[in-house]
Amino acid sequence: MARLIGEVILDLQNVSLSFGGVNALVDISFDVREHEVRAIIGPNGAGKSSMLNVINGVYRPQAGEIILRGEHFRQMNPYKAACAGIARTFQNIALFKGMSVLDNIMTGRNLKMKANIFQQAFWMGAAQREELEHRAKVEEIIDFLEIQHIRKTPVGRLPYGLQKRVDLARALAMEPQILLLDEPMAGMNIEEKQDMSRFILDVNDQMGTTIVLIEHDMGVVMDVSDRVVVLDYGKKIGDGSPDEVRGNPEVISAYLGASH
């Protein structure tokens, strides 16, 4: 691979998050380097999704710090995270059900669209031009993910695998620097998984996007990721290259041994 893994761009330090009595994350630290594919693994309920939610500000941790490109944050909020170039997909697909595939992906361009409400209401030059420019960009993404044939379909009517792909398309439309993927291949068949792995690697390779990936399929994780962090009951029990993690006895007993 031609890509060069760079400096740390995202650094979580001693993050703790709890819901009432449930400790979802306990004193977690881990970093993400520019251009790498960073995987998060662990059994169900380990706190993986919570971690992504902390990174893009959906959840606010009670303790710890998030350092993004050298800037320190006690907690993020979703708008700030989006502006900082963090996009994500969701474990339980969170598409806009009433909208077409095209409109769903167009929402990803939201932050880049500047025409005000009056220009839009009167469909004035600026608004129209902007709509066309962004449509062109969205069509590139549609081509890239090979979903041309469904662009006008309401997302609610699509099969699960395609919905996952539209979810990715919408995130890509933000042209993010950091892409958080929450179980992008869950519930897919082998073929769909292969397609999705290919897309993820292509995004990473061609666009240089840094990727944080939650995935259960160990084969996929070993194939695509540069470094892996392992969570169990909200605690970090392993961190390193796929091979290191695979050889870590604690990880084996907590996770690999248990579920495979």
């Binding site: 806009f96 009433g98 909208m99 929402t107 932050l111 409400i117 209401a121 066309l132 449509r135």
Partner: protein, 358 residues
Amino acid sequence: MIYRENGQFKTSYAADQQIFPILQDRWAILGILVFAFVAVPLLADEYMFRAILIPFLILSLAALGVNLLVGYCGQITLGAGAFMAVGAYAAYNFFIRVDGMPLIGALLLGGFTSAAVGVVFGVPSLRVRGLYLAVATLAAQFFWDWAFLRIKWFTNYSSSGSVSVSNLSLFGFPVESPTEKYLFCLAVLVVFALLAKNMTRGAIGRQWMAIRDMDVAAEVIGIRPMYAKLSAFAVSSFFLGVAGGLWGFVHLGAWEPAAFSLDRSFQLLFMVIIGGLGSIMGSFFGAAFIVILPIFLNQMLPWLGDLVGVSISTAGVSHAEIMIFGALIVFFLIVEPHGIARLWSTAKEKLRLWPFPH
């Protein structure tokens, strides 16, 4: 002509993003506009204008406003009537207190006032949703009902509490006869429908629908719920305010606060539910339905009664009306939440494939 988009390949995204991408639809809309602007004024009589057409046009505008908020942005409102009232009374005060204020200026200022009030009463939507938001908007209804009844300044200290306007004109042309009033309302509605269509197919419309469908995902994409929700309240209230102004000035001429009571709010909500949530076209269907149904029943029920030898009183007719509305609301909520507009588009889809469904 066969209704078909086959062969109409779009060669540019601009062509694909037109308001009506299908050629036949463009012809149909043009036909409807010509019919509405040219044929109707020649054909309709005064009763038609006063009892059916003018109320239909104004309520369509109001339903559009409600639909932008409820159907597109997914917020609930039981205060639509209040925003019509704010628009009507604000327009009235601008009209009588500002020397030389033109009709259209007063109506638009009424709309803007209503928009500002809408934003204030939309603030609870940032914190609560569903039932709680419904109650908050209900408070708006009660507050403004009270204000226009009790605060005499709003009604210019008229002793009866009723206010009236006369000598309406637009750019020197009188808006007095039923035909003139009809054409004026029609022109306003066409412009506003176009604005609504533009907003809903553009970035702001996508923000509204995103908030409606999945607010967490919308936030994560960088849509600010506050901006999306409050802009929906503002635009919706603007439409309702202008519709309120038209209702008072053009349709009624003289009115009391009761013209914009809670009944009106419910009526508008029923229109968008029956017509189709999240559909511009649905707002028209809903308004037409609610305006025409009572008139239709008034004619039909006594006649049907006579046929079978029962005489149906006026009270009987109005009871039947309420029961039929109730049944239809329940039907649409359960069976087809997207209303008549969805039935219509399903029919069109079938027609598109006809006669060879594949």
